[in-house]
Symmetry: D2
Subunit: 300 residues, 4 copies
């Protein structure tokens, strides 16, 4: 249980979101989709609060849509709503889901030693800026326990060595299964196994430093410094089998100059990483991200 202050903030946020839902749709583009979806919602008595669409190409492309609507007695009518919409969805061969805005997504944060991303997420969460159920923090080091537990969030220290890794992952996945909707890798420095990634496909968000040009491999900050880059960036993305090649959710950069030593670049890197990761997580929690192929559509 979160501490009482956070708990009361979450309850207030939940109440404010009552009777709000989001419909997320992707399908082949064709005329009539918006008409049919909005007609259906109207017939149900729903009031569209926000609607965003995107088409990769009106002729033969893909269509994406996010509709947030208000509907009295939403919970009671959820089944009927789903059944009714299934017919519309069938007609347009839609991938779709219905999300209740008042149900906080359950998240697990994975962290290693560097805690700047963890702290930012904790802070935004306890300030009510991230509406989520923070179910657990998992780390391969014990260090973060002290900052996590005062918030009433369970902390699991699961050390990882080359030998213990399979067992550690087994335990991690056991902890997550059925308890969590999203895993956030907040500078978790272990590579997840392909099995893990597959099970949690598009439900793991990672944060990664980024440079212009790229410095792939060891010691990127030292090499960025040697090259005299003027910008330090970060990329938040969903994790796929190809490691850092999953769909990009958000990117940003901050400025550095010749006076910045390697340590300064790292400090700037921490700032841009925590900002970018927090934005990406927030958008995921608010169902603002749709994925197709290896790209995201973010209705920010």
């Amino acid at each position: 249980m979160p501490n009482p202050r956070v708990q009361s903030m979450l309850e207030k946020a939940q109440a404010a979101r009552r009777n709000r839902a989001r419909l997320l749709i992707s399908c082949p583009d064709q005329p009539g989709i918006i008409a049919s979806v909005s007609q259906f919602l109207y017939s149900q008595g729903a009031n569209i609060v926000q609607s965003d669409q995107h088409s990769t190409n009106p002729d033969s492309g893909l269509f994406f849509m996010r509709i947030e609507f208000a509907l009295p007695d939403l919970q009671e009518r959820a089944d009927a709503l789903r059944d009714g919409f299934a017919e519309v969805a069938d007609r347009f061969r839609m991938d779709w889901r219905l999300e209740f805005a008042s149900v906080p997504k359950r998240i697990a944060i994975f962290v290693s030693k560097e805690d700047h991303c963890l702290l930012e997420l904790l802070w935004q969460w306890q300030a009510g800026d991230l509406f989520a159920d923070l179910v657990m923090v998992v780390s391969n080091h014990p260090d973060a326990r002290a900052v996590v537990e005062p918030y009433g969030v369970p902390f699991y220290w699961i050390p990882v060595t080359p030998e213990s890794k399979p067992e550690a992952e087994r335990r991690q996945r056991e902890l997550l299964r059925g308890q969590v909707d999203l895993v956030v890798l907040a500078r978790y420095m272990q590579i997840l196994s392909p099995d893990f990634v597959q099970e949690w496909r598009h439900r793991i968000i990672n944060i990664h430093h980024s440079f212009l040009p790229a410095f792939i491999g060891k010691n990127p900050y030292a090499r960025a410094h040697a090259r005299g880059v003027k910008l330090i960036g970060a990329t938040a993305h969903y994790v796929t089998e190809e490691l850092d090649e999953g769909p990009i959710i958000e990117q940003d950069v901050l400025r550095v100059d010749h006076r910045d030593e390697v340590e300064d670049l790292k400090r700037v890197g921490r700032t841009v990483e925590r900002n970018v990761l927090a934005r990406a997580v927030k958008w995921h929690l608010e169902d603002r991200i749709l994925i197709h192929e290896n790209k995201t559509v973010v209705f920010a």
Copy 2:
């Protein structure tokens, strides 16, 4: 006639926009608007390319919508489309208009001595970034003639003194009437009469420097310098009877520091002004701005 290079760019842009139209709507919010509008467009065979909505409040607020759609033989079917939509519009008490994307808006640029905003608009226009018919440049000084005429744009030098002002305005308004859709005040340092503003209400865009805090009155840059501000801003807005109090379209700032003299602040101010004005004009040309009360909704 624009010079041949610009002319050919405009023609290409026009061809790319053929059969595209934008429907702009404001009305009291109520359930069923999106459903009805999208159903109507579907029934006409139109394909929605982009759709943006905003509601100030789903219960008793105002609803704003911009739909861009593609429809074969658009020009031929325009009258039928308008007639048909009028019924939908009546039902929801809509303010609405239909704009053809391929018809460039006709703009007049007013300028005094400082030509940075004029030049930015000219450059973006000749580069094809502003799709418009640049009908004339009007100035109370002769200086800008040399940069305007090589583009094949008519330049009118209409001096303004306290005595000649009424006559000058009469001539300006005569030039504009029926020839122009939008007047851009690109650092035009004369105050337009209330009559002029009324006639061109919400069709004049002005650019104005902005500071934190505000420095109202004379010598704002000198006073901003004396106060040691760290940001220099600009605001683009529609002109209303209350001078610089009209609906804000866009704002931005740039950074300055203690090394910047008054002249540097002015230089930075010019840069932020030209960027902000060009964005505001672009959004207007693309029918992305809706006005209500003293605010804008910008579907950027």
Copy 3:
């Protein structure tokens, strides 16, 4: 005493700054200042690590300088250094001070109910990004106690009513006197008396929301929303007798749009406020700010 984790971070930071000092100078500009100062430091065996200068006007203006240097056995030689430099200083009629980089400034944070600025400062402090001795947090409300005390920082709840204000200020000033170098008003919503401000002149930093245009008086966010502003800003400044008119240290803005309700503007305002205040405090702690008249020179 800070908790052990923070304590160890502070000690490491201190060690890294050993034998580092900063010389801060303002005086009438004239030829030879840099030559004399650098010659003096050289004669003492000091090595200049960073040097920044600014002149408002080489002819008859003011000259500002910040030199950071390394000198073996700095502490032992401090008195001799000061005595020696006094001669140089006399010659050029300098205002000057010598600051030891390894001596953390002692700060007190004042806060009311909104804790976003307090939290940012706490976080940056415990992360080692703000090198300071956080001596106390003072509030007119008890709410912040829970976030402050886990860090081992004393928290003083001093309620303020119109009647109790003189007594409350008396107690606050008693707490501060001799214990604190800088007071940070981190959304402290009580106006300090002129006496208080005078005693702590240029040693109180305040954070203030800022808008383009300005909305002076009550409910600025509601009025900014009604006006449809596109930017929300914040200004950090030293407190002087004229309230929010003291020397500006830093300003920044963030973008908002028509979808943002008053509550969203406030949320954005909190983000820009915490960032701007933290930067201003950091620069003060690192002796990067010189004040003259009502302006700052920031050698960032």
Copy 4:
């Protein structure tokens, strides 16, 4: 000869810079450099207007310095100044040069078909924001002639085919030799031969698109689009033998999103390229850039 308007602006700028010079220094760091340099300038009667230093490491690193100073009768005393300073320079084993602020650097702009960078440079130059002698524009295509010649700037069309390339380069280098101080590659799409680059080492500035992650090779914009990047960047750098691997002068990014097609990414890329290149050129013209190894020190 530039057209009269530009010519008069240049002459005014020149007058404002009279008696101003810049001393650029790099040498092994050791105590006493600043003292000696500033002492020397003082002894000459010079008044330091701006001074920037940087040391990679006070112990065994490199020291960089840029001093801008005012000295009456500068031109007449230039030789004495140089002779005198040579002694100081010898003592510290300095690389150094003395630049007169009133002598505009002579630049040649190379361009291919895309003219956005050329236009930005022309505009800033004619507005007085780039103080330079624009000696010529060289292109392998005839297209840019129309925008260049109205400014009174000679335009050379030198077509380049695989066969004609050696001869074309020979002609280009002949045009440049003795006439030009800086070559700006403003989207010049031909690779210069190693000989050319060697002759003009650190005197050629190039602009290059940049992405996070990098897309090396063909069709970078299409690949950036396929990958769904959220930022489009540009890097301005000096050209060295390793093509795009020379010292970075400036970088920046702009934001894109899922609605941006490949063409939009290119348009955004053009904007960021022209801004970044213009800043880099401006800093070079003002002698704000020092190079060591493969990095720049930019005293911006």
